[in-house]
Amino acid sequence: MKHVGLGLVLISMTACSRTEIAPETSIPQNELQSGYAFLTAETQALQDDAFENPGFLWVDRGERLFQSVASTEPSCLTCHENGLDGVAASFPKLDPETGELINLEGRINACRTRHQGLPPLAYESEDLLSLTAYIAHQSNGDPISVDVSGDAAPYYELGLDYFITRRGQFNLSCQQCHTENWGKQLRGDTISQGHGNGFPAYRLEWQSLGSLQRRLRDCDTGVRAEPLPYGDPTYVAVELFLAARAQGLEAESPAVRR
């Protein structure tokens, strides 16, 4: 965390100023709405129908991977025989072993390297998406609930900072679209409140399931900013900030999105 803090100070000391938009980032609890609320009726129906929702292909595949045994190592099921109900709704969280913030993908990879003698899976690989989807789906309907106190607080601040900072050739912040202009039209897209509660989600544009970080990279690319690499600690911190901002909203992965 120290390094990240130092980096921020350095960047903000330079002549090239990063403009932050006043942090009225929170949306009142009674106005919180999932991205689902901004979809067309047809897309909502596609998400609601477990037989039609393409995201369930990954959930089913994840279930098989969860149970399968690689060589002599334990399967995920060996350690989690009662499943992982509600667990995904509390991610990202601090990894007790390293003290660093990890998201669900990071936790899955930590289990692989520490307990299964397996290499970590790459972001957006079919296996990682499948396992993430299977675990995330077990939190469906549970309220998002992350801890941002204590050692998690600096990560929250980092995520907040990313959210309110203008970037890219279009010089826009997440905040400007998702807090100040949700409900309005960007051509055919209705801007939602920008919550991560549906992820991993099946995007029609991707023709695939994708992680929340893939969505963040798309938003950064949309303002012609250089997206961060997959797994970048700053994106994990943004995930934490987004979850805290969506506190109480129900998790709904695998969602279907445009």
């Binding site: 090239c16 990063r18 203008r166 050739q169 202009n181 051509r187 012609r224 250089e226």
Partner: protein
């Protein structure tokens, strides 16, 4: 020393800091840029295509103009159907070039600016979003927009 170099590299990587500004303070009068940015006068049809074309201005992402054939025009920004009745050419020019000069918090992107930007993707670091001529074409097009009076 090594650390200093590293920091320098980081700073360069994350900022675009050109030698001179595309729009200088001397060009700005109040909330307008009264003089055109180019010698060649703007063209209304060219401006119309910059306004709608996804590869150039794509202003319809956020704005609407009544009677335009483009479907799904956005409404994040104000309706521009009669913008010429409200704003002079110079005011329109400043709002397209760099409205953030006069309204720092505005959502309206700056299309003719390359100073003080942050984390710009490599492919876009050298040039502003639009050329000076494209801005002039847009000014010509928008300056032609007035809602026709029913009686007249």
């Amino acid at each position: 020393m090594r650390l200093v170099q590293l920091i320098g590299a980081l700073v360069l990587a994350s900022c675009t800091e050109p030698q001179s500004r595309l729009v200088t303070p001397a060009q700005i009068v109040g909330d307008a840029i009264p003089s055109p940015l180019t010698e060649t006068a703007g063209s209304v049809p060219a401006g119309l295509s910059v306004f709608t074309d996804r590869e150039t201005g794509h202003c319809v992402l956020c704005h609407q103009v009544a009677g335009l054939a483009t479907e799904f025009q956005g409404n994040v920004g104000p309706d521009l159907s009669d913008v010429a009745a409200r704003l002079s050419a110079g005011q329109i020019r400043l709002r397209i070039a760099d409205y953030q000069i006069v309204r720092p918090g505005t959502l309206m992107p700056s299309y003719y600016r390359n100073h003080d930007l942050y984390q710009v993707a490599e492919a876009f670091q050298d040039d502003p979003v639009l050329s000076a001529q494209e801005v002039e074409d847009l000014v010509a097009y928008l300056s032609s927009l007035r809602i026709e009076d029913d009686d007249g």
